[in-house]
């Protein structure tokens, strides 16, 4: 579904991503793990169209058709092509209500009834959002905002859902809850690209995983393999 070849990204004069290859198949949860500044966010932002002037090839095929080159497209185009990003730090619009945030997520769509149905679907996934539906986004707790960010990304009905650090700043119990729901969303058919510093949580649900270190992929394999890998255990799973 997504095929990245030899991706190079420069961020503020630093060569942040140095020629990585990543491939994502339909129906998978793929995770990029690594420390802060390893280039995970840059990669996901490049796919979403937020990074200009990177080198390499990003190909995307929505169904069986020929892959389309994503390089140089605008973020709003990506959404229409079925790629949605829940950005790092949640980026909830603080002055809009929870429900308005969800409606904004459905901006590219015009099918009113289906949108209403999808809003209900998000409320089913995250019942707490339903209680908060008419509250301003800025007044929600960190966990609720994260749920809202994931729900909002779902509202465009993406084929590929990209989540940038969904565990950031969440209490450990909430991390479990959010990751259970991510796995549930995947079971319902969404392909997911997950960028995470919380390697343990991410590897547990991932079909495929890549470890990024200063812009290079150092280890890759299935989530299970990486959980057992001594190098990963040492560096990311606390020995």
């Amino acid at each position: 579904m997504l095929d990245i070849q030899n991706l190079n990204i420069w961020y503020r004069g630093i060569h942040a991503v140095k020629g990585i290859d990543v491939s994502i198949d339909k129906g998978e949860i793929v995770t990029l793990i690594g420390a802060n500044g390893a280039g995970k966010s840059s990669t996901i932002r490049a796919i979403a169209g937020l990074v200009r002037g990177f080198k390499g090839y990003i190909g995307y095929s929505r169904s069986q058709g020929k892959p389309v080159r994503l390089n140089g497209r605008q973020p709003e185009e990506m959404v229409k092509m079925g790629i949605a990003l829940s950005p790092e730090g949640r980026r909830i619009l603080p002055q809009l209500t929870a429900e308005e945030n969800l409606r904004l997520g459905a901006y590219t769509r015009d099918d009113k009834e289906e949108i209403a149905r999808d809003i209900d679907y998000v409320y089913d996934l995250f019942p707490r959002l339903k209680e908060r539906r008419s509250q301003k986004g800025g007044t929600l707790s960190g966990g609720e905002q994260q749920m809202l960010a994931v729900g909002r990304a779902l509202m465009s009905r993406p084929d590929l859902l990209m989540l940038d650090e969904p565990s950031l700043g969440l209490a450990p119990m909430l991390v479990g809850e959010v990751f259970d729901i991510i796995r549930e969303i995947n079971r319902q058919g969404k392909t997911i690209l997950l960028v995470e510093q919380n390697a343990f949580a991410a590897l547990k649900i991932a079909h495929k995983a890549y470890v990024l270190e200063v812009g290079t992929i150092t280890i890759q394999g299935t989530g299970e393999e990486l959980l057992q890998d001594p190098r990963v255990k040492d560096a990311y799973l606390g020995g």
């Binding site: 979403a48 937020l50 605008q74 973020p75 709003e76 959404v79 229409k80 949605a84 990003l85 950005p87 980026r91 619009l93 603080p94 002055q95 809009l96 308005e100 409606r103 904004l104 997520g105 901006y107 590219t108 909002r152 465009s156």
Partner: protein, 302 residues
């Protein structure tokens, strides 16, 4: 002051304030989204007045058509200003766009001098708007009203109501509010930001043109620099009401209209200082409540 005089001044202030408010809305909307003070806004107001002058007086078109042409023409100009002078500078430092705005303002004023000549021209008002209505009542005494005096505030308030509906109840309005908080995230939701910004300029310019038309009816002449002072004052109204807030802009405009009209009504000797009141109001609000009446936050203001 007698009660009937007061009512007369009250309606007068309502009209002037509503016009300031209409112009202020354009400033506040653009600032809310781009953090840019669109100095050319007062000149769009001027163009609206000129267009209606040419349509109705030179080309003898009916007023309804003239107004439609003027609003459409000024809206187009507002869109062009955004496209040519601001959009190429979207990712440039904010000060560049501000300088560009000042440049566009000078350009439009001087272009108007070249094209329309610098000579002020008289606007002939349609007689039915000026025909006085006398209201006599034992408690008030006699009040003379012209339809124009009532029409200006009524139209202004209706338009503002419609605008608030657009901003709070429609999809493009949702995108506008979203852009004003976080452009990047809004793009991630699939919104074409440039298109929404263009829509903002279009709405603001249409309102400025409408204000220009009504201004030209109230003070029946047009000249190339007529937009400067109303523009400044409307900008002050926007800051006073809390820049970024549409109801704030209207309230600021009304406050300014009332201060101007009432201070002269009560202290006729101060009439020479008429234009200074706006600036006094600006200084006071910046000292007391820098975010304005309805402003929530203060970011770099220039």
């Amino acid at each position: 002051m007698s009660l009937n005089m007061f009512v007369q001044h009250f309606i007068n202030a309502l009209g002037l304030g509503a016009l300031y408010g209409l112009i202020a809305i354009g400033y506040t909307m653009v600032y809310g989204i781009l953090r840019l003070i669109n100095f050319a806004h007062g000149d769009i107001f001027m163009l609206g007045a000129y267009f209606v002058f040419f349509a109705t007086i030179q080309f003898k078109l009916p007023w309804g058509i003239g107004v439609a042409i003027a609003i459409a023409g000024a809206t187009l100009c507002g869109l062009l200003v955004d496209r040519i002078a601001y959009r190429p500078l979207r990712s440039a430092p904010r000060i560049s766009a501000l300088i560009s705005a000042i440049g566009v303002s000078f350009f439009l004023e001087n272009l108007s001098v070249v094209v329309f000549t610098g000579m002020p021209r008289a606007v002939v008002q349609p007689p039915w708007l000026m025909h006085p209505i006398l209201i006599k009542s034992p408690s008030f005494g006699e009040i003379r009203l012209i339809p124009l005096g009532l029409m200006v505030p009524v139209i202004s308030f209706l338009i503002v109501g419609g605008l608030l509906w657009i901003v709070h109840r429609t999809k493009p309005g949702l995108a506008m509010r979203s852009i004003s908080y976080d452009i990047e995230t809004t793009r991630l939701m699939g919104v074409s930001v440039d298109r929404i910004i263009a829509l903002t300029f279009a709405l603001g310019s249409a309102l400025a043109a409408l204000a220009g038309i009504m201004w030209a009816l109230r003070y029946p002449r047009v000249e190339p620099f007529m937009g400067i002072f109303p523009g400044f004052k409307a900008f002050i109204a926007a800051v006073f009401g809390g820049i970024g807030s549409i109801p704030g802009a209207m309230i600021g405009g009304l406050a300014l209209g009332f201060v101007e009209i009432m201070s002269i009504a009560f202290f006729p000797r101060l009439s020479g200082y008429k234009d200074a009141f706006a600036f006094v109001l600006l200084i006071v609000i910046l000292l007391v409540k820098p975010t304005g009446l309805m402003g929530e936050r203060l970011e770099e203001k220039i």
